[in-house]
Amino acid sequence: MPRRRAGAAIPEMFRTMLEKPSTRAYPYQKVELPARFRGKLDIDPERCTGCQVCAMVCPAGVITMIDIGTRKVGDKELPVKRPVFELSTCIFCGECVDNCAFKALEMTKQFELATPHKEDLTMRKALTK
């Protein structure tokens, strides 16, 4: 049993004083993100077919499908749907990206999503097409 004494940690204290700081000056000095980082969702409107799979698998109810028109299949009129994303409830699990058969969805490396207006976090990008 080693001798008990106050200040056993003092040598380490001096050693760490000479090291460079462990923290980074974040907003000025950006951190390099790993390749698999899951940030803000993004959609490629060209590729989306409106199949609704992403809306079905989403655990947080981020995705709602909205009718943007109709299309004719045979003699039936079918609605054409496109997703709207409520990113303020997104939990960044990536389940929708995994399940998208058309590779329309991806997770970007953007993580600075704070905004004074909640509406900024509603992504209606797919509706324009």
Binding site: M1, R4, R5, A6, A9, P34, F37, P59, A60, I91
Partner: protein, 413 residues
């Protein structure tokens, strides 16, 4: 109890009743508690004689919510039971559901699960050692330990894409493979962490600040701990060999060599050393598993409908045994999911330890069980309907508060 002394407690219908003067409320908001929880301390002088817990301040209603959600979505919900040991929740829930299906989990997926679970154990134990230093008045240790914790979090982020909520698990497999060329980096970082853990072990053994606050505090006998169904480090620090990784191996724990750490001393100081030792064991396990990672598929896709039946699964989280019970009636949503978190199992032991301690030791003892009240409270019903959401503006919230505490003031307006 003699005639001249007024009776302090009276027995009526088997229930203890205490007079108001020796009751000290502890919580729900208290500087020594990181999460809202309430303990009624019954005192005799400065000594605690009885503790009555009141939990439930952070209930989110997960068990009720699980009954109305598809199987896969529940996995992400249960992962969010806790912000520290998130992976092991989805792992245990996944194992409980996988038991109902006929599919075999690929061997590579089992190894990846083991690696992530052990990385999580290291990060959770480091977090706890830091907090322990904080409550013992050794803030420097807190800073150092949390700096080293970043090493693990960076690794987890590189493997899974997120620091805390890894979202790695799927039914019958994992969602992401290990990245290429990570092996050397992981092994090297693990070596660094083993060195650090050994250094901290030396510090907690010699530094007087730490010893004064932790030695001989929080003693409990092995028989009591066993009777009160203690789990995890709280069972091992009194000498019980209770570790589900060893007793009932899951994932790849029967293929990765390791030995559990137990202690005989049974005080908070022993707990500190035990958790640091466990960290070293976990780091060695990660190195071994990364080197011996088998080839093969990582996932089997299973249909969204789970066959009817009931099954339970348990696993060893950093804090102790996590238990999930799943009942399916063959539909797209579960019939019942029961989850029991280690803090719930360790709370009776903590209450038993508190008896006989002084008030000053309450923070140390309560931190010693590594409490996670957010985990424990998971079962109310206030925010679970996914399609109906309501929010309060700051003004509404303020009004509600005033109305709750001073209704007469609202009437005056």
């Amino acid at each position: 109890m003699t005639e001249d002394k007024p009776p302090r407690k009276e027995e009526s219908a088997g229930l203890m009743k205490y007079s108001a003067e020796n009751l000290v409320p502890f919580g729900p908001i208290h500087p020594a508690l990181k999460e809202p929880e309430y303990f009624k301390l019954v005192l005799e002088g400065e000594k605690i004689v009885e503790v009555i817990p009141r939990i439930g301040y952070v209930h989110r209603g997960l068990e009720k919510a699980a009954e109305s959600r598809p199987w896969v979505q529940n996995m992400y919900m249960f992962e969010r039971t806790c912000g520290i040991c998130s992976f092991v929740h989805s792992l245990t829930y996944g194992q409980a559901v996988e038991g109902l299906t006929i599919y075999e989990i690929p061997r590579r997926a089992k190894f990846i699960r083991t690696i992530i679970a052990e990385l999580e154990r290291i990060h959770s134990h480091l977090l706890w050692v830091g907090l322990m230093g904080h409550w013992a008045g050794f803030e420097t240790l807190f800073m150092w330990v949390w700096r080293d914790r970043e090493v693990v979090l960076d690794l987890v982020e590189a493997i899974s894409g997120n620091r805390i909520h890894k979202s790695m698990n799927a039914f019958c497999g994992v969602r992401r493979d290990m990245p290429e060329g990570m092996e050397d980096r992981i092994v090297e970082r693990m070596k660094f962490l083993v060195d650090r853990a050994n250094y901290y072990k030396g510090i907690v053994d010699t530094e007087e600040t730490m010893l004064e606050r932790t030695e001989d505090i929080g003693r409990v006998s092995a028989e009591t701990a066993e009777k009160l169904c203690a789990v995890g480090p709280m069972a091992r620090y009194v000498g019980l060999r209770r570790d589900i990784r060893l007793n009932d191996p899951y994932a790849a724990y029967d293929e990765v060599p390791f030995d559990i750490v137990t202690s005989k001393e049974g005080d908070v100081h022993a707990l500190l050393k035990l958790r640091l030792d466990e960290m070293i064991v976990a780091a060695n396990m990660v190195s071994y598993a990364v080197k011996h990672l088998p080839e093969g598929p990582i996932r089997i896709k299973i249909p969204p409908v789970i066959p009817a039946g009931e099954h339970s699964s348990h696993s060893e989280a950093p804090r102790g045994e996590i238990f999930y019970y799943v009942k399916s009636s063959g539909g797209r949503t579960p019939d019942r999911v029961k989850s029991r978190q280690p803090t719930m199992a360790n709370l009776p032991t903590a209450l038993e330890i508190l008896k006989g301690q002084t008030i000053a030791d309450v923070p140390v003892v309560l931190t010693a069980i590594d409490p996670c009240f957010g985990c424990m409270d998971r079962m109310s019903f206030l925010d679970i309907e996914s399609n109906r959401q309501w929010t309060w503006s700051g003004e509404e919230l303020r009004r509600y508060g005033i109305n709750y505490y001073f209704p007469e003031r609202m009437k005056m307006r």
